[in-house]
C-alpha cells in the first residue's frame, strides 16, 4: 500500500478547503493540526478490522465511500457476529459543520464519535483498552504512530484525533447544485422547478448549503414497534424529544439509499411520497411538515430531479478517502 504513489497523502491533500458559501466549520482542527502522516494513520485505522473484537468489522465495512460513506442497500446497520442494529448507517460528509453526531445527537464532538461504534456490543463490541493494546503490539501501527507523532506513545487521544482528521476532511461541496449556485452550471426546467419546490417546502429543516439545520425533529414516521427507538429522548430525557431524530444533510442523497433513520424507504420517491401525505403522519409530527401539503406527481418528479443535482462525483471518487488495500 505504502508504495503506491496514487494513494500517498501530500501536504496539499490535508489542507482544509471550505467550499464557497459554506459557513465557518464548528470543528476547525485547531487542537488537532492536520498533517499527511496523521491523516494517513486515520485512514489506515478507518479501514482496519483491528478496531473490532474479532477483527471482522472496520469503519469502512459499513461506511462505503461510493455511498458517501453510508451503507448501500442496508436499511439497518450490520455489526459483529452478523448482528443487526436499530438504525440506518448515516453518510459521512461535512461532519465538521455538525455540533452533534449520531441520529440522536448523543455524541458531542467529532473526535469522540468512533468510541460509540467501537464499544457498541452490536457494532464492533470492543473495548478501547483492547484496541490500544492491539495497536501497541502491531508493528505497522508502531511505525504509523511514530511517523505521525514523532514519539512512541500510542493512546486513545491520538487514535481518535487521527480518525477525526480522516473523517473531518470528508467535505462534499462540488455537486452540480454547487456549480449552479456559483453560476458555473445550468439546471434543466425540471431541476429548476424542483429547487423552487424544495425552497418553499423542505428548506425549513434541510437548510442550504448543508441541507440540514442540525435540529432534531419528528418527521411524521410511525415508530417501528420492533425497534423501540425513542431517538433524541434517549439522550435528553425530555418527553417532547421522543421520536425526534437529527435532520440529515441531503448531499449525495442519490447514493445513500435506503432512507430515513430506520432505512424503511428504498427510493427517494418513497420519501417524497411520505412527506406529501400528511394524513399518514404520526401524531407527534413536526409542525413545519404541515406546510408541505400534497404534491402533484409532476412536482414529485421535479423535486427528485433537483435532489439528484446534489450528487458530488468528485467527493465520491476522491482518492484521499479510498482504501489503499482494497483489492
Amino acid at each position: 500500500m505504502d508504495d503506491n504513489p496514487y494513494f500517498r497523502i501530500s501536504a496539499e491533500d490535508v489542507k482544509l478547503k471550505v467550499p464557497a458559501g459554506f459557513p465557518r466549520p464548528v470543528y476547525n482542527f485547531k487542537t488537532n493540526r492536520l498533517t499527511p502522516e496523521i491523516f494517513t494513520l486515520g485512514r489506515t485505522l478507518f479501514y482496519d478490522k483491528i478496531l473490532s473484537k474479532d477483527n471482522s468489522v472496520s469503519c469502512g465495512s459499513c461506511h462505503q465511500r461510493i455511498a458517501a460513506f453510508a451503507h448501500i442497500d442496508h436499511s439497518l446497520s450490520h455489526g459483529i457476529y452478523a448482528k443487526i442494529g436499530t438504525r440506518n448507517v448515516p453518510a459521512l460528509q461535512n461532519l465538521i459543520w455538525k455540533d452533534a453526531y449520531m441520529w440522536d445527537g448523543g455524541v458531542n464532538n467529532i473526535e469522540l464519535q468512533p468510541l460509540s461504534p467501537i464499544t457498541n456490543p452490536i457494532e464492533m463490541d470492543e473495548t478501547l483498552e483492547n484496541v490500544i493494546s492491539k495497536l501497541k503490539h502491531d508493528k505497522k501501527y508502531v511505525v504509523l504512530f511514530q511517523n505521525a507523532f514523532h514519539d512512541t506513545i500510542i493512546d486513545s487521544k491520538r487514535l481518535l484525533q487521527s480518525i477525526a482528521q480522516f473523517t473531518g476532511l470528508m467535505i462534499s461541496g462540488g455537486s452540480r447544485y454547487d456549480r449552479f449556485q456559483e453560476g458555473k452550471d445550468t439546471f434543466s426546467v425540471a431541476e429548476m422547478n424542483g429547487l423552487k419546490i424544495f425552497r418553499s417546502k423542505c428548506e425549513n429543516c434541510h437548510k442550504e448549503p448543508l441541507f440540514t439545520d442540525n435540529s432534531y425533529r419528528n418527521n411524521g414516521l410511525k415508530p417501528d414497534p420492533s425497534l423501540k427507538d425513542e431517538g433524541r429522548a434517549k439522550i435528553t430525557g425530555i418527553e417532547e424529544d421522543k421520536y425526534r431524530f437529527q435532520v440529515p444533510g441531503l448531499r449525495n442523497i442519490e447514493m445513500t439509499y435506503p432512507y430515513m433513520h430506520d432505512g424503511r424507504f428504498q427510493k427517494l420517491r418513497d420519501v417524497v411520497n411520505h412527506y406529501s401525505n400528511p394524513e399518514n403522519f404520526d401524531v407527534g409530527a413536526d409542525r413545519s411538515l404541515q406546510k408541505i401539503g400534497t404534491l402533484t406527481e409532476r412536482e414529485k418528479d421535479e423535486l427528485v430531479a433537483f435532489l439528484l443535482t446534489l450528487t458530488d462525483k468528485a467527493f465520491l471518487y476522491d482518492r484521499r478517502f479510498a482504501d489503499p488495500d482494497f483489492q
Partner: protein, 255 residues
C-alpha cells in the same frame, strides 16, 4: 561611541532590575510549597473495605461494595483575605489504587487559606473538549460513548435486597447538562486555617469520603427499588446524595 556604551549599559541595568523583580515575585522563598489532599474512604465509621466487608444502608439492607471510582476536578484553595488558588484539572480516584487517593498540588503560594472547594465530576467544558488524555482518557472506562460525557462516580456492589440479576448494585452517575446535571460543588471549611509559609514540610489535607452518604440524605436508597442507575434516570437523586459525602478529617504536616 561612548554615548552608545552608556545607553547600552543603562538598558542592561534596567533589564536586570526588571528581571530580578519578576523572579522575586514568582518565587518569594526558595522552597516550592506542596499541599497534598488525601482521600480516606469510609462506610460510616469504618474504613471502606471492598468485596468482603458487609455494610447496612439507612433502611437496614445489607450490602458489599466492589468498586468505588470518582472524579475530583477544579480544586480551589480559598484565601482567608479573599481570592483563591486554583488547579484547573481532573483527578480520577479509584479505591483499588492507593496512589490515586493522594493528590499533590504544587507549587502552592504562601498564604493563609480558610477553606477549599472542588467539584465531584468533570466541568462541562471538559465534557465537550473531544479526545483527552491522562485522567480524562476514555480508556479509564469512565466515559459514556453513546451520550458523550464522563461518568463522575461509579459505585458498584452486591446486596441480597437488590432487584437486579446477580443481586448487583450499580450506580454510574454522570451528566453535565440541565436538568440532569450531576456535577456537585463541594465546600470544605478549615476551622484551624491552612497556613502555607516558610516552615519546612508539606501540608496534608485529609478528607473523609463516606459511601453511606451516597445512599442517603436527602433520599434513602432502597435497593429493592433502585439497584441500578446508568443514565439520566434517577441520576440527580444520587448526585444530591453525594453532595455531602466529603468532610474534613484533619490538616497536618507531613514528614
Amino acid at each position: 561611541m561612548l554615548n552608545n556604551i552608556l545607553k547600552l549599559s543603562f538598558w542592561l541595568g534596567i533589564s536586570i532590575l526588571v528581571l530580578s523583580f519578576t523572579l522575586r515575585n514568582h518565587y518569594p522563598g526558595t522552597e516550592q510549597h506542596k499541599v497534598t489532599i488525601q482521600f480516606r474512604h469510609f462506610a460510616g465509621m469504618d474504613a471502606l473495605m471492598l468485596d468482603s466487608a458487609v455494610y447496612k444502608n439507612d433502611l437496614g439492607q445489607s450490602f458489599r461494595i466492589t468498586k468505588l471510582k470518582y472524579y475530583i476536578s477544579n480544586i480551589h484553595l480559598i484565601r482567608e483575605k479573599g481570592g483563591d488558588f486554583e488547579v484547573n484539572s481532573s483527578f480520577l480516584i479509584d479505591d483499588r489504587d492507593e496512589k490515586t487517593k493522594k493528590i499533590t498540588l504544587s507549587p502552592v503560594p504562601e498564604d493563609s487559606y480558610s477553606s477549599m472547594e472542588f467539584i465531584l465530576g468533570v466541568d462541562s467544558l471538559h465534557n465537550c473538549n473531544g479526545a483527552q488524555s491522562g485522567a480524562l482518557d476514555p480508556v479509564n472506562a469512565m466515559f459514556w460513548a453513546w451520550n458523550s460525557g464522563y461518568v463522575f462516580l461509579k459505585l458498584e456492589g452486591k446486596s441480597p435486597s437488590s432487584a437486579s440479576s446477580g443481586n448487583m448494585l450499580e450506580y454510574h452517575i454522570g451528566g453535565y447538562k440541565s436538568p440532569y446535571n450531576c456535577i456537585r460543588k463541594i465546600k470544605i471549611a478549615f476551622p484551624g486555617k491552612l497556613f502555607i509559609g516558610s516552615e519546612p514540610g508539606n501540608k496534608s489535607i485529609e478528607l473523609k469520603a463516606d459511601i453511606l452518604e451516597i445512599l442517603k440524605n436527602p433520599v434513602s436508597i432502597d435497593f429493592s427499588k433502585l439497584s441500578s442507575v446508568t443514565d439520566f434516570h434517577n441520576s440527580t437523586t444520587i448526585a444530591n446524595n453525594y453532595q455531602d459525602m466529603f468532610s474534613l478529617l484533619n490538616i497536618h504536616r507531613e514528614n
